[in-house]
């Protein structure tokens, strides 16, 4: 019943594109508390880097932006916040854009660079297809639910946000590439791994455009060294903040065109 009410609330969101104005940004510092995330060879923990970068990003987003943009953190201290609570907080806050910050890791130390992700519902579709086949065999109730108009509406909503999320990912990726890789200062260079899609837990169920940024690899020595430097982190956060302002402009234009 609760799900049905939630889905019905989505109807106006789908009908009126005004939600695209970026006025409230939810910044999610990945991991926290007992969940340290990835750890570098020198003991730098993902949860600490993400929190520091989230606080910096909030500072840069809220400073000198007219009209102002509000930045809300899913955590502002070293504590564990379950992923579902992060999604809940973002939706309850009626955010216009969700940015989840993470540090990457790989078995190989050669992997390096940043990448921007948005939610991939294809995995869900494939899984739904498997479930559908199975349910057709056993005639269970779940299959009926997947043919429910409300389920289809939810799917439509996810697709709608998917386009905006894809656009926001492109802007953040392009901004970071420009600031870090296309200037005279070679010490800033950080490999651009592009925009990708995956079935992230923290992006599933978001009622707003949402992205997950893997800022660099803690398992790569060069990347790790960069994130030890305050100047680099300030530059990085300021670039994401610039990207957020650009996203607002793009969304505002689209919103105005729709009126």
């Amino acid at each position: 019943m609760k799900i049905k009410i939630l889905l019905l609330l989505l109807v106006p969101v789908l009908l009126f594109p005004d939600h695209l104005k970026v006025m409230k940004v939810i910044i999610d510092a990945g991991h926290g508390g007992y969940d340290g995330g990835a750890v570098s060879d020198y003991g730098i923990r993902e949860k600490d880097v993400t929190l520091e970068m989230a606080l910096l990003l909030k500072k840069h987003i809220e400073g000198a932006t007219e009209p102002p943009i509000t930045a809300i953190l899913t955590r502002s201290e070293d504590k564990f916040v379950p992923l579902i609570e992060r999604v809940g907080l973002a939706n309850k806050s009626e955010g216009d854009l969700f940015i989840s910050l993470h540090m990457n890791a790989s078995p190989t130390k050669r992997d390096s660079g940043f990448e921007v992700y948005f939610y991939d519902s294809t995995g869900d579709a494939e899984t739904a297809a498997v479930a559908k086949r199975e349910n057709e065999q056993d005639g269970s109730v779940e299959n009926k639910d997947r043919n429910n108009p409300l389920f289809i509406l939810w799917d439509l909503a996810q697709n709608e946000f998917s386009k905006e999320s894809s656009g926001a990912s492109d802007i953040i990726q392009s901004a970071l590439d420009g600031a870090l890789n296309r200037n005279a200062d070679t010490t800033l260079k950080l490999r651009d791994r592009g925009v990708k899609q995956a079935n992230f837990l923290v992006l599933n169920g978001m009622k707003m455009p949402s992205v997950l940024l893997e800022m660099g690899f803690l398992t790569n020595k060069n990347d790790e060294e960069k994130f030890k430097k305050q100047e680099f982190k300030e530059r990085y956060a300021a670039t994401i903040a610039d990207a957020v302002r650009e996203i607002r402009q793009k969304f505002d234009k689209k919103s105005a065109a729709g009126r």
Binding site: G30, E46, H102, S106, R110, D111, F200, L201, L212, T219
Partner: protein
């Protein structure tokens, strides 16, 4: 019959004889519904997956002595994939990962129940998670082509994600 032809016939016969003994021992896995029991112990070819220095998933041929059931073989292959490697290859599945149990449902979904070690020893990161999932999917697809999907469990319970990023709550397609 000319001596040259005799030699040729003998060589072909010898080749056929060797093939009869050799190939049954090195056949691919076969998973038929309701037939998970392996018929006698024999060596089997398989492909297991690792990460190269450039971060790509690569397959390596191996052979195992098959267990009593196909489920034992799945467990054996994952165990091989979690052994520390020499020669430049890296583990996509964390070293020391232990599998508690494996079972297959009627919908050709394999459930792999891991010890907590797969989480505790995981390198983390979206890339690390992707590589682990990809290695597991390709192990299933390559060696057990009749499987449709896989589901990961830890200590008998549903696993939301390996390291807090990619969802593993639902069945993952292996084809």
């Amino acid at each position: 019959m000319k001596p040259g032809r005799k030699i040729l016939v003998a060589a072909v016969a010898a080749l056929l004889l060797v093939s009869l003994f050799y190939f049954p021992l090195r056949r691919k896995f076969s998973l038929h519904e309701g037939a998970l029991i392996n018929s006698g112990q024999s060596k089997r070819n398989a492909v297991i997956f690792f990460v190269n220095q450039d971060g790509k998933i690569v397959g390596r041929d191996t052979e195992i002595v098959s267990g009593a059931t196909v489920l034992d073989d799945i467990k054996s292959l994952i165990t091989q994939e979690s052994l520390a490697r020499a020669g430049g290859l890296l583990n996509a599945i964390p070293v020391g990962t232990a599998v508690r149990n494996v079972f297959i449902d009627e919908n050709k979904c394999v459930y792999i129940d891991f010890e907590r070690s797969i989480i505790d020893r995981h390198v983390g990161g979206t890339e690390g998670e992707s590589l682990t999932l990809e290695a597991l999917k390709r192990t299933m697809a390559e060696n057990f082509p009749e499987l449709d999907s896989m589901k990961l469990l830890v200590e008998g319970k549903e696993l939301a994600s390996l390291a807090g990023h990619i969802s593993t709550r639902l069945k993952l397609k292996v084809k």
